[in-house]
Every structure is written in structure tokens, then in C-alpha cells.
């Protein structure tokens, strides 16, 4: 046992010395390999974290949202729809939602303006998201001036700011009273942006949706499961940028493995020839190359995954944030809750470390089985 360990240690010693002899080549290989793993693992962590958070939060989404379409575009829903939907068997509540977007010409930001409950939202007061407070430099008690659609100023006093912990939900939100909402957007009374419908039994949701669609052919019911599925397909691997990241990372990895699998450099063949001529067995040479592949790939894998974890969960994924931020003026600075999916990490390991190590051994096996003299003369 001790002898076997000593043999492995000696071969590992020789492997490290051999790798350090070609320091520049191997370090650049390690850096590129690490970068590929880092990007793939970051994507994995980011998507898993986002999907988990979405799954938890979206559990509290309305059972169904009913929109109205006119000429293929969303239009306002008259109050009469709400009354008729509320009368459908199984529907327990219908709440008209008043919400819309406000473009702030001062800084180019888009806010989501929403009317709160009559009971919670007080007239001429507003509760704003941390993103709005940051971009307009506002604190509780300050006045937020908005220009209504009939060009009259609307002054709202900030009554509260949503904590930054709720950025993922409300960073760009301004919650005001229904009266202020109607005044701001010149919004017709007796109409709503859409309807939030609560159904007693979740199993009846498709039936209720079918009844609504039959009763109001211009309506578009959106079920909670569809809302949840939208976020499960966010960063879908078929999506533009995700596909580009995945394809470029995998392609770079295939190039590495291909480079290794297609052959050895003349120097490496000569090294194998010399080792064989001084008495190394074929199995020793293969072990040497196995360690060589493992040193590079295992180091790149472990460091890549650890750095990716820090990048996504400690630094809030600045690499992907740029893509999400796009041209947004308000960018929610949210921290994802760490999630580690062992299955996905195992897949990443078997897709990267195993093929690379195998690709390192195969050409060496071919070189190690020929005559040492021929290997040196190659």
C-alpha cells in the first residue's frame, strides 16, 4: 500500500516538474480551462438561484390574471367584466388591478406605477422602491413630483421606501392611491388594467379560464402556472445570449480536448521515448499522463466552481448583470439566495474533467505502445 502511494507521489512529482518545464503553455491552458468552467458554473448558479427564488416568490402570484385584447394589443378591462367573472362558480374574489408605466423624462427611467388598496394607499402619498429612491435621491418625507398625462404636476409625499431586500420584487415601483393613479394617467374611471382572479380550488383554474374565455372572447386569462413557467424558462438554454455563452464555452472546451486528443507535440513524443528507454513501463507513462490531465482539469474545475459561486452569490454576478441591465436606468441590485445543485455540478464535472483527462491519455497510449527508438525519432 505504502509502495503504491509512494509510486503515485513520485509520478505526480515528475508530472508537476514536467508541467512546470512548459510553464507558459500549461498556465495559459489552465487559465483558459478555468475561464470556461467559471463561465459555465456561473451561468448554472445564476439560473438555478434565479429559478429557485422565482419559484418561491411566485407561489403568491394571483391564481389568474384576466387581460382584455383589442386588435392584438392589451386594452383596459371594464368593471362589468369583474362583476360577471365574480359570478362564475368557484371564483372567490376578483380584484381590478390599476398599474402602468411612467417614463421619467428627467433621467430616462421607467417606473412601474401601481394603485394600492384603498385601505393601504393614502391620497397624495407614495411608497417607492429602493431603485426609484436611489435614482431620484429621495428619502421618506421628500416630495416626488410627477407630470400627469394632462400636463398637470402631481406632488406625492414619500411615506415609505421598500427595503432593498425586496428589490427583486419592487425596485422600480411607485405605489399610490387609486385616485392619484387616475389623475396621473388620466385613467378612465370604471376600468382597470387587468383583473386578478382568486379561485377556491386550484384544480378548477383551467375550467374557470375556459368559462371566462367563452363568456368574453376578447379576454386573455393567464394562469398562475403559466406565470411560474415564464420564469422557469427565463435563461432557457435556447434563449439568445444563454445559447451563445453555452455554445462558445463548449466549443472552446471541444477545441482543448480535440487539441489533446489529436496528437502529441514532437517534444512530448520524445519525452515518452526517453522515459520508455530508461525503463518506464507503458502503465507508468499512462499514469504520468493521467496525472497531467487530472492536475490541469481538477484544478480548473475546483477553482472555476468556487470562483463562480463567489461571482454569483457574493458579487451579484456582475458579468450577467450587464446583459440584464441593458439600457435600463433603474437596475435592481438584487442578491440571489445561494443554491447548489449537486446534480448539475456532477454533470459539469463529467462533461469537462472526464473527457479532458481521457483525451490526454489516448494519444499517449498510442505513443507509449510503440518502440522507444521510433518514438524518439518521430
Amino acid at each position: 500500500m505504502k509502495r503504491a502511494v509512494e509510486r503515485h507521489l513520485n509520478i505526480l512529482e515528475f508530472t508537476l516538474a514536467s508541467l512546470l518545464r512548459r510553464k507558459a503553455k500549461n498556465l495559459s491552458l489552465l487559465a483558459m480551462y478555468l475561464l470556461v468552467i467559471f463561465i459555465l458554473a456561473s451561468l448554472l448558479f445564476f439560473v438555478t438561484g434565479l429559478k429557485r427564488e422565482a419559484a418561491v416568490i411566485l407561489n403568491d402570484a394571483p391564481d389568474m390574471v384576466v387581460q382584455r385584447l383589442v386588435a392584438g394589443r392589451q386594452d383596459l378591462v371594464p368593471d362589468g367584466y369583474a362583476a360577471e367573472i365574480a359570478a362564475i362558480r368557484g371564483v372567490t374574489a376578483v380584484r381590478p388591478r390599476l398599474w402602468g408605466y411612467y417614463y421619467d423624462a428627467l433621467n430616462g427611467a421607467n417606473y412601474t406605477v401601481m394603485a394600492g388598496d384603498d385601505t393601504t394607499a393614502i391620497s397624495e402619498k407614495a411608497t417607492i422602491g429602493a431603485g426609484v429612491a436611489k435614482v431620484r435621491n429621495l428619502a421618506v418625507g421628500d416630495l416626488l413630483p410627477l407630470i400627469s398625462y394632462d400636463k398637470a404636476p402631481l406632488l406625492l409625499e414619500i411615506s415609505a421606501i421598500f427595503p432593498s431586500a425586496s428589490n427583486l420584487v419592487a425596485a422600480d415601483m411607485i405605489v399610490i392611491s387609486p385616485v392619484d393613479f387616475q389623475q396621473l394617467f388620466n385613467f378612465p374611471s370604471g376600468q382597470a388594467t387587468d383583473l386578478a382572479v382568486t379561485v377556491r380550488n386550484a384544480k378548477e383554474l383551467p375550467t374557470v379560464a375556459a368559462k371566462i374565455a367563452a363568456r368574453f372572447p376578447d379576454s386573455r386569462p393567464i394562469l398562475k402556472s403559466e406565470i411560474q413557467r415564464t420564469y422557469q424558462s427565463v435563461f432557457d438554454w435556447r434563449g439568445g445570449m444563454t445559447l451563445i455563452i453555452l455554445a462558445s464555452s463548449l466549443l472552446s472546451f471541444i477545441i482543448f480536448a480535440w487539441d489533446k486528443a489529436t496528437g502529441l507535440s514532437a517534444e512530448e513524443r520524445k519525452e515518452i521515448g526517453i522515459l520508455k528507454s530508461i525503463g518506464w513501463e507503458t502503465s507508468d507513462v499512462l499514469l504520468l499522463k493521467f496525472w497531467e490531465g487530472l492536475v490541469i482539469s481538477l484544478t480548473a474545475f475546483l477553482l472555476g466552481v468556487i470562483l463562480a459561486y463567489g461571482h454569483v452569490f457574493f458579487l451579484s454576478a456582475p458579468l450577467f448583470a450587464q446583459a440584464l441591465k441593458g439600457w435600463s436606468v433603474i437596475y435592481p441590485d438584487f442578491k440571489l439566495m445561494p443554491v447548489v445543485d449537486a446534480y448539475q455540478l456532477a454533470v459539469l464535472f463529467f462533461l469537462t474533467v472526464v473527457p479532458y483527462t481521457t483525451a490526454t491519455i489516448i494519444p499517449c497510449w498510442r505513443a507509449a505502445t510503440i518502440d522507444p527508438d521510433a518514438a524518439m525519432r518521430y
Binding site: N110, P163, V305, P338
Partner: protein, 98 residues
Amino acid sequence: MRRSLQFLLFTGVSLIIFMLLPLHALRAQQRSADELREQSFLFKSLQLTDLCLTTEARYTRHPAMADRHAPFQSHPVALEHFPSGSLILPLLPGRDRL
């Protein structure tokens, strides 16, 4: 110390950190349960439908409320041009209906 032992030590430490990642994640999840409750409460009380991942386009701010045509409705020959549009897909046509 032999170079091989130095490497094994380095790999061992990396492996320990790697193995600690799920434990750290679990602990962080327990710690942020209150924050999550707060977000859920806000979500429920305002009857919200979407997460605020990006604010640049209506259909990526509220993808669950948009449809597949939304990015192309700005003007007759509109092309989808917001960066976040390549990451966030709008609602897929209902498979959950009858």
C-alpha cells in the same frame, strides 16, 4: 515540502471549500428566510405577477403579462432590440389550459 504534497494539500483545501459550498448555501437560505417572507408578503398584498429583473422594456419587466408579439409592436417594422430580450422569453402559449 515535496511539490507533489504541496499540490495535494492545495487540491485538498480547494476540495474542502468546494464541499462547503452546499452547506454555506443552506445556511444562507435559512438566514434569509425573513427577507423572502417580506418579498412574498409584498407580492401577495399588491397582487404582483412579475419579478423586477430588468426595467428597460415592458415585455422584459413584466414577461408574464406580455405575449410573443409584444417586442415587435413598437412600430410596423419593429425589431426586438433590447439586450434583456435575448435572455427573458415572454409567456409561452397556454399549455396548461383545457
